[in-house]
Amino acid sequence: MREKIKMSDKKRAAYRTGIVVFLVVAALTAVEFYLASISGAIAVLFFIALIKAALIVRYFMHVNRLWTDEGHE
């Protein structure tokens, strides 16, 4: 029983991470689009792309599993 509650906690946390990351990345894309419509500054756009990529690499691709050795739950 306890196991089950823990499990669903983890699941809920995972959902929350996914939604937050998705929303942030979507918002950053909108910012990019808006910035580009007023000026195509390469450095700023590149920096935003870097943040988006970092979010996906960290949270969607779980890059930390490479060194935390996390198995499949």
């Binding site: 689009f33 580009a36 756009l45 969607f60 779980h62 599993r65 050795d69």
Partner: protein
């Protein structure tokens, strides 16, 4: 892929190596996409072709959304929620296909042809190389879905799902850099 003849500890050791191997492959591909990106700046400099901005935003959003569904699919597989897993997986494949069609039909159907100077060469080179990866990602998703339907993944053993998922996200990351480079950076020559 899970092979039931191995023990769990063997599986985990191999899992660790598989992950590292796949990430090394990503780093390797980074040089390929990086080379394309550098070629873009080398040839286009501060200019860019006049492309349909609405189309760019739509396909980008579609790919982003597909990445979110892929994330859900992996969560589903981790927690043995088969309905969530399969539904999200199919959604990812559909959105991926929509992205591909958007690029191939609308973007490639525009005014610029591949042989039209550096604009054509780089535009088709970048989107073509990326589309190739999206297409192979869709094939991978379909294979994972086929095996998922037959219940071949468990919470302990679903490297196939994980590999497919991080590959898909990787293709998304590449587009995160390609989209501004193609659509947003620089000015359209008049």
């Amino acid at each position: 892929m899970s092979v039931a003849t191995t023990t769990l500890s063997q599986y985990r050791a191999q899992l660790r190596s598989n992950r590292l191997g796949l990430w090394l492959f990503f780093i390797s591909e980074l040089f390929l996409f990086g080379g394309l990106l550098i070629s873009r700046f080398y040839l286009w400099g501060g200019t860019r072709p006049d492309l349909d901005q609405r189309l760019g935003l739509i396909v980008t959003s579609i790919l982003l959304l597909s990445s979110f569904f892929m994330y859900l699919a992996e969560v589903g597989a981790e927690h043995e929620n088969r309905r969530l897993f399969l539904f999200s997986l199919i959604m990812t494949a559909l959105l991926g296909t929509a992205f591909l069609l958007g690029v191939v039909i609308f973007e490639w159907g525009g005014e610029i042809r591949p042989w039209d100077g550096a604009f054509g060469a780089i535009l088709y080179g970048m989107t073509g190389m990326h589309a190739l990866h999206v297409a192979s990602g869709i094939v991978l998703i379909l294979i994972v879905a086929y095996n998922g339907l037959r219940g071949r993944y468990t919470a302990e053993r679903h490297w196939g799902v994980e590999a497919c998922a991080i590959y898909w996200h990787y293709v998304d990351v590449v587009w995160i850099f390609f989209y501004p480079a193609i659509y947003l950076m620089g000015t359209v020559p008049t």
